[in-house]
């Protein structure tokens, strides 16, 4: 009896080992990652799977999914699979591990905010040799958007959109405070914030995040200069302004109110003004459809300046299907797909369509002049380390009770990015 029990146990254990071994091997043939099938015969067409990764809203996903269904009309050989990441933060943190494990997408939709680090580290494929083969016509795109994705004379992305940062104002709170014209300078903003500050709502939301800080920096004539000008007098002046806004009790961080980002505070009407971007439109439409907002260019510190955020389709260097991935990018930048993005608030980089942008998105009409002077972020090559350090030091000053001056903060960061 004991012997048969043992034998039964042995059989169960052997079966378990086999099951574990089979399940361990089972992952090899999944379709995620760039270790995908280089080519599969389906009827007469040799199919190639292109995995595309992005982060964005539900509306973005819908457009991508529709495009994935329709792509076979133009490229019957391409099977486009879409993967949505929960947030930009998740995307940038997950991508290195996926690249190292060989399971990263072939094609990604990324913004220029975090791209330079990856280009510098050689993770994105230069597209110049592939552009002709994939039949991409670069002449369709606005030169400013194309240039953002050109590093050392090599093209690293097929631009999808480009749009300046903006300054958003809650229309109702503004009118209730009997304020007149929307602000043009940071002094105007400060004066308005004093009136808008109340028990229910804060004058201005300043998210301690590199994107927002960079917009202040640019409006004071500064910039990070890819790490060379971190502690420039202009940058110091901009950071001093931010610190003073908190010192005067006019500004609030989303975190202090228990929110994740400025959009959440703005949609909950806990803050009357904030720096932001075009993505506010689809977000607010979902989060607070009744909220009326005005969008104006980032106010002037000493000059007119703001960041230009541009999304592009980038092919990963380790992709086994680079040409097919670029063809997919070409499809995603066609007039049909780009018109759909235009309708939800993206200013497409396709020159012929871009003209319609401000007609279709009249709430952004005032931002048009900023297209002429908005520029790239100019973060150092170690972008994430720089962003973390900047955020940490400014948080420490604003939320942590540190007495460091703006100059001391930027000097110490500059020291690390010589």
């Amino acid at each position: 009896m004991a012997g048969s029990k043992k034998r039964f146990s042995l059989i169960v254990t052997v079966l378990l080992v086999i099951a574990v071994a089979l399940s361990a091997c089972g992952g090899k043939n999944n379709e995620s990652g760039n270790g995908n099938k280089p080519g599969t015969d389906t009827g007469n067409v040799k199919k190639v799977t292109v995995n595309m990764g992005f982060w964005g809203t539900a509306q973005d996903l819908k457009i991508y999914q529709d495009a994935a269904k329709a792509i076979s009309g133009e490229y019957p050989e391409i099977d486009l699979k879409i993967k949505q990441y929960p947030s930009s933060e998740q995307f940038w943190n997950t991508l290195p591990g996926e690249i190292a494990a060989g399971v990263a997408p072939d094609l990604i939709a990324v913004s220029n905010e975090g791209a330079y680090e990856y280009i510098d580290k050689g993770l994105f494929a230069p597209l110049d040799d592939l552009i002709g083969k994939a039949g991409v016509d670069l002449g369709r795109f606005t030169p400013s958007a194309l240039n953002i994705w050109k590093v050392n004379d090599k093209q690293y992305g097929i631009p999808a959109s480009s749009m300046p940062a903006m300054f958003l104002i809650n229309e109702k709170l503004w009118k209730d405070a009997n304020l007149g014209d929307y602000p043009k300078t940071w002094d105007d903003v400060k004066a308005a914030a004093t009136k808008l500050n109340s028990d229910k709502s804060h004058g201005i939301i300043i998210n301690i995040d590199a994107y927002h800080i960079t917009n202040y920096v640019k409006s004071f004539g500064g910039g990070w200069g890819n790490g060379k000008t971190i502690n420039s007098p202009e940058n110091v002046q901009a950071l001093e302004f931010i610190i003073d806004m908190f010192k005067d009790g006019l500004a609030v961080t989303p975190k202090s109110l228990g929110f994740g980002w400025d959009g959440e505070v703005f949609s909950n009407e806990k803050g009357a003004m904030t720096t932001g971007g075009y993505w506010y439109k689809p977000y607010l439409k979902d989060a607070n459809p009744d909220l009326k907002f005005a969008a104006v260019p980032v106010p002037k510190g000493t000059v007119e300046g703001s960041t230009m955020i541009s999304n592009a389709y980038v092919v990963l260097k380790d992709s086994k299907n680079q040409e097919a991935a670029l063809k997919a990018a070409n499809y995603l930048t066609n007039d049909t797909v780009q018109t759909q993005f235009l309708d939800i608030g993206y200013n497409t980089a396709v020159a012929s369509l871009s003209k319609q942008y401000f007609e279709k998105n009249p709430e952004f009409k005032d931002i048009e002049p900023a297209l002429a002077y908005s520029t790239d972020f100019g973060y150092p090559a170690d972008t994430k380390r720089f962003i973390d350090e900047l955020v940490k030091q400014v948080e420490n000053r604003v939320l942590g009770g540190s007495n460091k001056t703006a100059k001391e903060i930027l000097d110490s960061i500059q020291e690390q990015f010589k």
Binding site: L10, G97, G122, L123
Partner: protein
């Protein structure tokens, strides 16, 4: 009926006896077969990556170009030991452990004693206390974040005891305490269940003998229950210490949309330090060296705990 001679160590039975059957009848071999699936997975998922991390810790290795990794000796270790942020992270990890582990142990034991009594509805209590342990950490963190926002009844309540009415996880003074509270809340159900299993193993006749000798309730607890629970206490303290050092999800949730260890590095720990350098900055050589140092720290602390408990007992 097999005829396996233990003395001779060979099969003496019928010819044609299968080797498999011999294997099945051998306790030693069967033991190995039982642990084999775990052993294989453990080697694959833990031992191999650890060895790889150890090797990488001596390299200048980047995720982006692992093929170009080059040997740099102890440089990563020297750089880490010269980085004040590493010490800050170690100190934060120690703070979490020093605050949370004794509270969890005490709370777990107290709850276990409570639900071990003949109470009405004790099954419900057991479930209620254990639920946080099996609930998603992110979900609990999100709920706690809502509860500890400025202006809620909890921050208002704590405000009466000298704490500011602020959003705890956004304030550098309270953010780490917030993590500790979360950890205590989530893990006390686990310590309770382990203690409960220990309490049910204590022989009843020892208590009866104690009662005959006139021992008070406290003396029975001190001289019977506690000594019996010593191995359980060691297990709980070791496990919660290790888990405390490994806290990550809660901190990642708090730092959502910001730098990991937010606000201003107040919740940075050894694990977040590794993650930032090894994964986020793609410097896997440097990150691996941090992991090896982390391993040594945990080993040392576990060894010290064991020694301390052995001496006390």
């Amino acid at each position: 009926m097999s005829q396996y001679s233990k003395q001779e160590g060979r099969i003496t039975g019928r010819p044609g006896f299968s080797r498999l059957r011999m294997l099945a009848d051998s306790d030693k071999a069967l033991g190995w077969i039982f642990v084999l699936p775990f052993l294989v997975l453990w080697c694959w998922w833990f031992f191999y990556p650890f060895v790889q991390s150890f090797v990488r810790s001596f390299q200048d290795a980047n995720f982006a170009a692992l093929g170009q990794a080059k040997f740099i000796g102890l440089e990563n270790y020297i750089n880490i030991l010269q980085d004040k942020l590493f010490y800050e992270a170690v100190w934060h990890s120690l703070e979490i452990v020093i605050i949370s582990v004794p509270v969890q142990t005490f709370l777990g034991l107290s709850l276990a004693i409570l639900v071990n009594k003949k109470l009405k509805g004790k099954g419900i209590f057991r479930t209620v206390f254990f639920v946080p342990y099996i609930t998603s950490q992110i979900a609990i963190t999100t709920v706690f974040m809502m509860l500890f926002k400025k202006g809620t009844f909890l921050t208002d309540f704590f405000g009466k005891f000298g704490f500011g009415d602020v959003t705890w996880f956004a304030d550098t003074r309270y953010a780490l305490l917030f993590v500790c509270l979360l950890f205590i809340f989530q893990n006390s159900g686990f310590t309770m269940i382990v203690y409960l299993s220990g309490l049910q193993e204590v022989p009843k006749d020892l208590y009866e003998a104690g009662e005959i000798d006139g021992a008070s309730g406290w003396n029975k607890f001190r001289f019977i229950t506690l000594p019996y629970l010593k191995p359980i206490t060691f297990f709980i303290v070791s496990v919660t210490t290790i888990v405390g050092f490994q806290i990550f999800d809660q901190i990642a949730a708090i730092s959502r949309y910001g730098a990991l260890g937010s606000p201003a590095g107040a919740t940075s720990t050894v694990v977040t330090y590794f993650y930032q350098h090894g994964i986020r900055y793609m410097n896997i050589g440097y990150g691996s060296a941090a992991v090896v140092l982390f391993f040594i720290i945990i080993m040392l602390i576990t060894f010290l705990q064991k020694k301390l408990l052995d001496e006390k007992g």
